[in-house]
């Protein structure tokens, strides 16, 4: 036996239609191949698709919701609080996942399971409560229409305890907004691919966990020693203090300087008032505390309070770069207080800040261009930086009122209603693009285009290195860079840990080989582990292929080809179609996929045991 520890080897499966829960065993072979997190998610999604003959409505009871931490989640090592939510995405109709930090996944594991799956649909709005070894489904129709925090408070009151972790949806999830999130620990959101709508479609308002069990670790003394080394490296890094202080908010300034900060729906890549929404402004007038995910010394999350003015009293855990850019510069909002207010609204209503910022920016531009009419806007004009109008749209999206009903359908619904919006809304495969402009970075463009879930930055965040060193890269180097990120990134999500110590502070990925070894007792090299994470990439590709995606979907938003940033250091830059096509072919070749982007035939047999 190769795996000696690190797992409970238990899978909790809940069928909400039947109102039944069962604890199933996980085999060593399964654990060794798929590790955890996204790995479990891909395999279980694939098995469920085969079971349903590849006909799954993302919002139907048959869509399997998988909540998967990894074997390192909760272990004593830097930033081990990660947990993935996986399902067929209502936004793309393809494989979808989103991860959260905080401590929900740790507590979930401490109930004695490695993975939770949920299928079916509850008759009434319900809460799933996993209390150590006991599982119950509680009907709580009184939670209907409640914000994430209200719902969490009511649940804790009903259960008579605060010592639980709650993952809940807001109004957005209940109303099946295609970019609804799952919220936990106040500021943690599984924001992307619409997992909140999957929960909503199951009448599942929240999952509550309380667990006391020891997390299995093979060699705790060596784990402590390895963590001490990693932590020492991190805390001595010249940027460590800056990370504790500003967290991801430091990226606003960087992105503006480099010309990759979205402004006015990516019309521009610099923002004149960047200094009103940057980290320094936050530190100067808004930040009141730090927040960290479980076992993370970096505490990159900020707690911010608006102390005076129109939005006085607004308090959020956040923002981080994505939320601040998408709800700030990308909407022409020049006030940090307004960004905080919009962030709070999105969090409480349970919709993704990235997608919300993206579709609202597209709406403003669509109206400006005359594609969207005043009556489409329910008679209320909207323009850049129009704070009240933006807040109103956020509310309308979550409630699906008026134009909000269309916007709640995300990029694809917007384009189906107003076909000319194809040139305005930025998305790949139906997922709205994150806040890194790919026009000056062809590796980032390739990463967005080939991402299994659509245009999400964290799938392969190649842009920084390319902007710094990549001017003279050969095609081979560019493609290898993207593929390396696409191999390593899933590994973090499979292990259940955060990528930031690696990508931001340069903590060597070799540590993770050791962390894995000391937790599971299974000796594997990083290269062995990367082969497994590459399998996950192949499998999600296969899933998407079987759901109808082809190489033609590995494309980019119109603006990336044809509408360059107006000013700043990247003014005039677009991605050349020929350059991109050449890289994409090379990418397929290096991955061993066909010219049309299909994985080799043996992949299907390999993963269909």
């Amino acid at each position: 036996m190769t795996i000696k520890s690190g797992y409970f080897k238990k899978h909790l499966h809940v069928d909400l239609t039947q109102g039944a829960a069962e604890r199933l065993s996980l085999s060593d072979a399964f654990l060794e191949q798929w590790i955890g997190g996204r790995g479990f998610g891909a395999k279980m999604t694939w098995d469920n698709l085969r079971k349903h003959n590849f006909k799954i409505d993302p919002l139907g009871p048959e869509n399997l919701l998988i909540i998967a931490p990894g074997p390192l989640t909760g272990a004593y090592l830097p930033s081990s609080g990660k947990n993935s939510f996986i399902a067929i995405s209502p936004a793309t109709g393809l494989y979808g996942d989103s991860s959260i930090g905080g401590a929900f996944g740790v507590e979930l594991r401490q109930t004695g399971i490695d993975v939770l799956t949920v299928t079916g649909r509850a008759e009434e709005l319900s809460v799933l409560f996993i209390d150590n070894g006991a599982t119950s489904i509680l009907a709580m129709p009184e939670l209907e229409g409640k914000t994430c925090l209200e719902a969490e408070g009511m649940i804790k009151e009903k259960l008579g305890t605060h010592a639980v972790h709650v993952a809940t949806i807001g109004v957005g999830g209940e109303n099946l907004v295609k970019f609804a999130c799952v919220n936990s620990d106040w500021g943690r959101n599984a924001g992307r691919t619409g997992i909140g709508a999957v929960m909503g479609s199951k009448n599942l308002k929240a999952i509550v966990v309380r667990g006391h069990k020891d997390l299995p670790v093979h060699d705790i003394a060596s784990l402590v020693e390895e963590n001490d080394k990693a932590t020492k490296y991190m805390t001595e890094h010249k940027f460590f203090k800056m990370w504790q202080q500003e967290g991801l908010m430091n990226v606003i300034e960087y992105a503006n300087e480099k010309g990759i900060l979205p402004a006015y729906n990516f019309k521009d890549s610099v923002f004149a008032k960047h200094d009103r929404i940057n980290g320094a402004t936050m530190l100067d007038g808004y930040k009141i505390g730090d927040s960290a995910c479980f076992s993370c010394p970096m505490c990159c999350s900020n707690i911010c309070l608006v102390k005076n003015g129109k939005y006085a009293g607004t308090v959020v855990e956040g923002p981080e770069y994505e939320s601040c850019a998408m709800l700030g510069s990308n909407l022409g909002v020049e006030s940090f207080a307004a960004v905080l207010r919009a962030n709070q609204l999105c969090d409480e209503l349970g919709i993704d800040t990235i997608s919300a910022g993206s579709v609202i920016a597209a709406t403003i531009e669509g109206y400006e261009r005359g594609i969207i009419s005043l009556s489409d806007l329910d008679g209320r004009e909207i323009t850049w930086g129009d704070e009240d109008g933006i807040f109103e749209l956020i509310r309308k999206i979550a409630r699906r009122e008026g134009i909000g009903d269309t916007l709640a359908g995300g990029a694809l619904r917007i384009i189906s209603r107003w076909p000319e919006m194809e040139k305005v809304v930025l998305h790949v495969k139906g997922l709205e693009q994150s806040a890194y402009d790919s026009r000056p970075s062809i590796t980032m463009a390739l990463a967005y285009a080939t991402s299994d879930i659509g245009a999400h930055h964290a799938r392969a965040w190649t842009i920084a290195k390319e902007m710094e060193q990549g001017e003279s890269w050969s095609d081979d180097e560019r493609v290898d860079h993207v593929i390396y990120h696409q191999k390593l990134r899933p590994l973090f999500d499979m292990l259940g840990v955060c990528r930031l110590p690696w990508i931001e502070l340069g903590l060597s990925e070799r540590h993770y080989e050791n962390f894995y070894k000391f937790v599971t007792g299974h000796e594997r090299t990083l290269e062995d582990l990367l082969k497994l994470s590459n399998d996950v990439y192949d499998l999600t590709r296969l899933i998407n292929t079987r759901l109808g995606a082809t190489g033609k979907d590995d494309t980019l938003p119109y603006k990336v080809w044809a509408s360059p940033p107006l000013s700043g250091p990247t003014a005039g830059r677009v991605i050349d179609r020929d350059d991109f096509g050449r890289l994409l072919s090379l990418y397929y070749r290096k991955r061993g996929w066909s010219e049309d982007g299909l994985p080799p035939a043996d992949v299907e047999a390999k993963f269909s045991d």
Partner: protein
């Protein structure tokens, strides 16, 4: 002189590393629920992250209610004698701070022993939110912060003809020295 744990809640990020290292040291278990302290988090109002630690009270209520005299204040630490303890948990109930803990796997209440004078939580907190300070220094930072809260650090307040005014403190720049 006795030293005690001092908590600076404004510094705490809620990461739980203190809980982990405590449980690992005392039980060899990767389990924050087996720690002799707990980070309590509240949001959105009040926003609070507060490690609840044992104060090692000089007049320990936990010891007073112990029916078998298993808790005693010795050299600045309220120590639990497991040979005497009957696990009635009266101490857990009696502690005014809720700083003694119970876990179903553990035979006895989980009570901070200050790690023999060199607490793990203090050593490993990445924010310096838990500190070990001499008893006589307790309250020092509160005192100075409270006084400073009357005026902005770089402003001097004064009254002129009954009117409150402030003036920026003129710092001596490096070039002048």
């Amino acid at each position: 002189m006795s030293r005690r744990l001092a908590v600076i809640p404004e510094e705490c990020s809620g990461c739980g590393i203190c809980e982990l290292v405590c449980a690992i040291k005392h039980f060899g278990a990767n389990n924050p629920k087996k720690a002799a302290l707990r980070v309590v988090t509240t949001y959105p109002h009040p926003v609070m992250r507060m490690p609840v630690v044992c104060s090692q009270c000089r007049v320990p209520v936990c010891a007073q209610v112990c029916p078998v005299d298993a808790l005693r204040w010795i050299d600045g630490v309220v120590q639990l004698d497991e040979k005497e303890c009957v696990s009635c948990y009266k101490c857990v109930d009696a502690c005014p701070f809720g700083a003694i803990y119970v876990h179903e796997d553990c035979e006895y209440p989980i009570k901070c022993d200050m790690c023999g004078g060199d607490p793990e939580c203090v050593k490993k907190c990445p924010k310096g939110a838990i500190r070990l300070i001499p008893e006589s220094a307790l309250g020092e930072s509160k005192r100075i912060n409270n006084v400073l809260s009357y005026a902005q650090m770089k402003e001097i307040e004064y009254y002129e003809k009954g009117e409150k005014k402030t003036i920026q403190y003129a710092e001596i720049g490096k070039e002048e020295l």
